[in-house]
Symmetry: C2
Subunit: 154 residues, 2 copies
Amino acid sequence: MTISAAAQSRLDDFRARCADAGLAATHQRLIIYRTLVESTDHPSPELVYDRVRTEIPSISQATVYKNIRTFLEIGLLQEVNRLHQTNRLDANLDQHHHLICVRCEKVTDLYDDQLDGARAHDESPGGFQVLNYQVEAYGVCPDCQSTKAASSAQ
Amino acid sequence: MTISAAAQSRLDDFRARCADAGLAATHQRLIIYRTLVESTDHPSPELVYDRVRTEIPSISQATVYKNIRTFLEIGLLQEVNRLHQTNRLDANLDQHHHLICVRCEKVTDLYDDQLDGARAHDESPGGFQVLNYQVEAYGVCPDCQSTKAASSAQ
DNA sequence: ATAAATGCAAAGGATTTGCCGTCAA
DNA sequence: TTGACGGCAAATCCTTTGCATTTAT
């Protein structure tokens, strides 16, 4: 059994999910989504564009970007790093983790020795020589909990 | 005891660390670094610029950006998200973690139920309502392990 | 003295936007 | 048919770069 089992089932749902979200199932949209599902290497938007162009040479970059954003908005797609849009700096070099508010993108240091002990079962997962583990806890910060709206606080 | 104890000790080291790295201890550099140390809110470069300007109104954005880069290069500073420069997409919505190569920035999915169980000791750390925990394992991928140079593979 | 750092302005790269023609429902 | 979508080009935002002047060592 290859990756295509899971991939196929996700594709099967694609039209249904578009319908649910009120999105038209266009050819471009389908190819972009299929490309994403088949790309297990966590590609950049630019790389997705390159790959999609092998199937639809005339597609525009804007269409790829717009659809990626749409997929993110309806939760069909994630970013490896939810803080991608702006760089966030940290002069604290001590071992620690982060609490990240999914609404306002506030980041708070999280000290927790239970998390410090996080380790993969495999000592060298995927052949990686792991240097350190860092935990990101996504959630809703106190300020945003008291706000009904889905927008920001800070 | 306030935050200033740790902050002060880091500041005390600043000139020494500059000397070690062969960097001049300029006024601008000191203020930028002090601002970073005193900013526990993981600011964006732009926000750092704003804060530094309250002390040195004439400082240029380029100086702030250059010094941030310098600090990152000598390991005096970290980014919350090491993949910030390019967005990285993930259509895999199943619970999983990531192996991130610090050399070539390759990202690999990591399935591990031991990591799935990562939880802070405090159920609601910092008052956050945590939705999910995700572990990022930073390390060196197999390809880069066989490469001596500090550059990339992929 | 001299190599490095600052400040300015321009360049660069990634992403978004506006608008018009086209397509899915 | 009609509102949504694709394609194109321009705009925007963030970050880097080149260069002349100033500064630290």
